[in-house]
C-alpha cells in the first residue's frame, strides 16, 4: 500500500511538470491557433537561465524562480510581435515552421555556448531533505514542486474563470470573430497571452533544474510527451490539458512500477492512451468539435 501511494505521489509530480508545460501550450494554441514547437526549448532555456543566474550572478533558486519566467515571458512577447503576429493570417504551416526553426536555433546557440554536457545544479538548501508524509518519507523538493504546480494551475484557472481578463481570453479562444464583433480588441490580448504561455514553460524549466539533467536536449525529449498530453486533453482546452497531464503522469509511474519486466510499457503508454482516446473522442477528452476540423 505504501509503495502504491509512493508511486502515485511520484506520478503526480511528473504530472505537475507536464501540466505546467501543457497549460502554456494550450493557452497559446487556444488564443493564437499557433502550435508552438519552441515550447520545449523554452523549458530548456528556463533550466539554463537558473544555472546562469547561479553561476555568473550567484543568484539562488528562489531568485531564478522569479526572474527567469519574467525574462522569458518578455522575450516571448517580443518574438510574438516581431514574427508570429505577422504569420497568423497565413496557413498555420508557416507558424509551425517558424517555431520549429526558432527551437533549432535556440538549442544550437545553447549547445555552442555551454556544450552538450549537463551542467550542475543543486537542490536549493532548505528543500534538500526528506519530508515525513505519515506513511512514508518523500524528498521535500518534490513535495514543493507538486504544491507549486498545483497552485499555479489553480491560479490560472481562477484568472480564466473569475476575472474580466479571463472572460475576454476565453471568449476570444472560443469565437475570435464574435468577440471582435462585440467591440473587444482581441489583438491587444494576444501578445501578453503568448508571453504568459512562454513564461509558464520557463517556470517549469526552473523547477526542473534541481532534479533533472540540465542540458540543451532536455526540452526536445520531453516535448513529444507534452504534445501527446495536449492532444489527449483536447486541443485548446486548458482544463483538459491539465487533467490529461496528471493522468499521464500517473499512468506512466504505475506502468514503470508494475510492469517493470516489460519496460516498453512505460515507454509507449502515453501513445497508446492517445490512440485510444482519439478513437473514442476524436477531439480529445475535453476538446470541442471545431478544433478537430
Amino acid at each position: 500500500m505504501t509503495g502504491f501511494l509512493q508511486n502515485t505521489f511520484n506520478g503526480l509530480v511528473s504530472g505537475a511538470f507536464l501540466a505546467l508545460l501543457a497549460l502554456g501550450l494550450a493557452v497559446i494554441f487556444g488564443m493564437l491557433r499557433v502550435v508552438n514547437f519552441a515550447h520545449g526549448t523554452v523549458y530548456m532555456l528556463g533550466a539554463f537561465g537558473a544555472y546562469v543566474l547561479l553561476d555568473s550572478a550567484g543568484l539562488p533558486f528562489w531568485w531564478a524562480l522569479l526572474i527567469v519566467p519574467v525574462v522569458l515571458g518578455v522575450g516571448g512577447m517580443v518574438l510574438e510581435r516581431a514574427f508570429i503576429h505577422r504569420l497568423t493570417r497565413l496557413d498555420p504551416l508557416y507558424n509551425f515552421l517558424l517555431t520549429f526553426g526558432l527551437a533549432l536555433i535556440l538549442q544550437d546557440l545553447v549547445k555552442w555556448r555551454y556544450g552538450v554536457q549537463s551542467t550542475p545544479y543543486a537542490t536549493p538548501s532548505g528543500l534538500d531533505g526528506t519530508l515525513d508524509l505519515g506513511l512514508f518519507d518523500f524528498p521535500a523538493y518534490r513535495v514543493f514542486v507538486l504544491g507549486f504546480a498545483v497552485a499555479a494551475c489553480v491560479a490560472v484557472w481562477l484568472v480564466l474563470a473569475r476575472t474580466r481578463v479571463g472572460v475576454v481570453v476565453r471568449a476570444a479562444t472560443e469565437r475570435p470573430d464574435l468577440t471582435r464583433a462585440l467591440g473587444i480588441d482581441v489583438g491587444r490580448w494576444i501578445t501578453p497571452v503568448f508571453g504568459f504561455g512562454v513564461a509558464l514553460a520557463g517556470l517549469a524549466g526552473v523547477l526542473a533544474a534541481p532534479m533533472r539533467a540540465v542540458n540543451p536536449l532536455m526540452g526536445s525529449d520531453l516535448i513529444i510527451v507534452v504534445f501527446a498530453v495536449v492532444v489527449i486533453g483536447g486541443l485548446g482546452s486548458v482544463f483538459g490539458s491539465v487533467a490529461a497531464a496528471f493522468a499521464i503522469g500517473l499512468v506512466q509511474a504505475w506502468g514503470e512500477a508494475y510492469a517493470s519486466h516489460w519496460p516498453i510499457v512505460a515507454q509507449i503508454t502515453v501513445f497508446v492512451v492517445m490512440a485510444a482516446v482519439l478513437l473514442w473522442r476524436p477531439t480529445g477528452l475535453f476538446g470541442r468539435e471545431e478544433m478537430a476540423a
Partner: protein, 418 residues
C-alpha cells in the same frame, strides 16, 4: 634518331623526378614509395556536437596533434616522413553517417589509420569499412566487445576499454569489497543490455547476487527514475548497492534523483557502469561522493600522467578523459610502428604491432594481443571524492586499486577469427 633519344631522356628524367618525389627526406629516401603519397594521415572520426562531444570530440583531435608533434620532436630528420597530418569528421553517433564518412576519409582524404569512433553501432560499421579497404583502425571510445569478437578483423584494434573490463572491474571489485547484493538498473538498448549481462556474470563470479534487475525505458522521455529508486529499499534482501548502467544525461538524472531519495543514507551505495571525468565534472563530485567505477586511466595517477595532463590542459583548457589520453597513445604507437616498419603499408605495420608490449602515458603493462587485436593494459577501480576533499579542479577521484592487465580484460573470444 633524334626523336628516340629525346624520348629516352624524357623517360629517364621523369623516372628520376618520380623517385625523388616519392623518397623525399625519409630514411628509405631513394628506395621508392614506402610511404604512400609520401605522407601519413591520421583520421579522427567521432561525435563533435552530440552526447559524446565532451568526453572525446574535438579534444581528441588535439590529443592526436600532440602525439604528432611529440613524434616529430623525437625523430627529427630521421622521421619516416615529415608530412604527418590529421583529418577529422563528425559521425553524429549515426552508424550510416559513420560508414560514409569512414569511406570518404580513407579514400578521398588518404587516411592511413582511423582513430576514436565512439558509439558501438558506429564503431562496428567502421570496422567493416577498414576490413574492406584493408586500412588500419584503432577503436578507442566504443565499448562493445564485438570489435574483438564476432566483428573482429585483421585491420581493427580495440584500444582503451570494453564492457567486459567495466563489469569485471566494478562488478567484481565492489562485490569482493562486501557489497554482495545488487540492484541493477540499465537502459533498454544494446549497450545497457550488454552491460547488464556482463555485470551479472561478474557479480555472480565474485560470490554476489543480483537481487533485482530493471530495464528502464530508453530514451527515458520523462527523465524520471523515482519508481526504481523507491523500489530499491523495499527489495528483499535489501541491496547493498545500486548498479546503474545509464550514460550521459540519463546517468545525470539517475544520480540527481538517487541523492534526492537519500538512498546512500539508507545503506544503498552507488556503482556506475561507465563514467568519464567529464560526467563527474558536470554532476559535481558532491553529487557522486563515494561512488565507485572502473577507469581505464586517470590523469592524476602519477607524474607521467600528470605531465601529459598539464600539456593537455594548456592546449584545451580542460583535463583529459581516458579517451583523450588513449587517442594520444594510439596515434603515437601507430607512428612508432610505421617508423619501425619503414613503411605505412598496412600489413607491415600490423606485423610491428601484433604481440608488442608497450608502456607509455596511457598503456601500463600494455600488450597488443595478436589473437584478437585487443589491447590489454592495467585498469583502475576509482572512487569519487567528496567535494571537501577535492583540492584542485578536476582532481575528483581516488584510485582504490590497480586491476592488472591480464585480469582486466577477457581472454580472446572463440568468435574471433582474424
Amino acid at each position: 634518331m633524334t626523336t628516340s633519344r629525346f624520348r629516352i631522356s624524357a623517360v629517364l628524367a621523369a623516372t628520376a623526378l618520380l623517385a625523388a618525389a616519392c623518397g623525399g627526406g625519409g630514411p628509405q629516401g631513394d628506395s621508392g614509395a614506402k610511404i604512400s603519397d609520401n605522407k601519413i594521415v591520421l583520421g579522427v572520426l567521432n561525435d563533435q556536437s552530440g552526447a559524446y562531444a565532451q568526453l572525446s570530440g574535438k579534444n581528441s583531435v588535439k590529443a592526436v596533434e600532440l602525439a604528432i608533434a611529440d613524434f616529430k620532436a623525437k625523430y627529427g630528420d630521421k622521421a619516416v616522413t615529415q608530412d604527418i597530418s590529421v583529418e577529422t569528421a563528425d559521425h553524429q553517433n549515426k552508424p550510416d553517417v559513420a560508414n560514409t564518412k569512414a569511406a570518404e576519409l580513407y579514400d578521398r582524404k588518404a587516411v592511413d589509420v582511423m582513430l576514436d569512433v565512439p558509439t558501438s553501432s558506429a564503431a562496428e560499421k567502421v570496422a567493416d569499412v577498414a576490413k574492406e579497404k584493408k586500412k588500419l583502425y584503432f577503436n578507442i571510445s566504443a565499448a562493445t566487445t564485438t570489435l574483438t569478437g564476432a566483428k573482429c578483423n585483421r585491420y581493427t584494434f580495440h584500444y582503451a576499454y570494453d564492457t567486459y573490463m567495466l563489469a569485471n572491474g566494478t562488478g567484481k571489485s565492489t562485490t569482493e569489497q562486501g557489497a554482495k547484493n545488487w540492484y541493477v538498473l540499465y537502459p533498454n538498448y544494446q549497450f545497457g543490455q550488454d552491460m547488464e549481462k556482463s555485470f551479472s556474470a561478474a557479480i555472480g563470479a565474485a560470490g554476489g547476487s543480483v537481487v533485482a534487475r530493471d530495464a528502464a525505458p530508453f530514451p527515458n522521455t520523462s527523465g524520471d527514475y523515482s519508481t526504481y529508486l523507491l523500489k530499491a529499499p523495499t527489495l528483499n534482501p535489501k541491496p547493498d548497492v545500486l548498479g546503474t548502467m545509464q550514460a550521459g544525461a540519463e546517468l545525470v538524472n539517475v544520480v540527481k534523483q538517487y541523492n534526492e531519495f537519500k538512498l546512500r543514507d539508507k545503506g544503498i551505495g552507488l556503482a556506475v557502469g561507465l563514467m568519464f571525468l567529464t560526467d563527474i565534472h558536470s554532476l559535481t563530485p558532491d553529487a557522486l561522493a563515494g561512488t565507485t567505477y572502473t577507469d581505464a586511466w586517470y590523469w592524476n595517477f602519477d607524474a607521467t600522467n600528470r605531465a601529459f595532463a598539464d600539456r593537455f590542459l594548456a592546449a584545451t583548457g580542460v583535463r583529459p578523459t581516458f579517451a583523450h589520453a588513449a587517442n594520444y597513445s594510439a596515434a603515437m604507437q601507430y607512428l612508432e610502428a610505421v617508423q619501425a616498419a619503414g613503411t605505412d603499408g598496412a600489413d607491415a605495420v600490423i606485423k610491428q604491432l601484433e604481440g608488442k608490449e608497450i608502456n607509455d602515458v596511457f598503456l601500463r603493462n600494455g600488450k597488443i594481443r595478436a589473437e584478437d587485436h585487443r589491447v590489454i593494459h592495467d585498469a583502475y577501480l576509482a572512487q569519487v571524492k567528496a567535494g571537501k576533499d577535492v583540492a584542485e579542479p578536476w582532481d575528483y577521484v581516488k584510485i582504490l586499486k590497480t586491476i592488472p592487465a591480464a585480469e582486466a580484460f577477457r581472454a580472446p573470444s572463440p568468435d574471433c577469427h582474424l
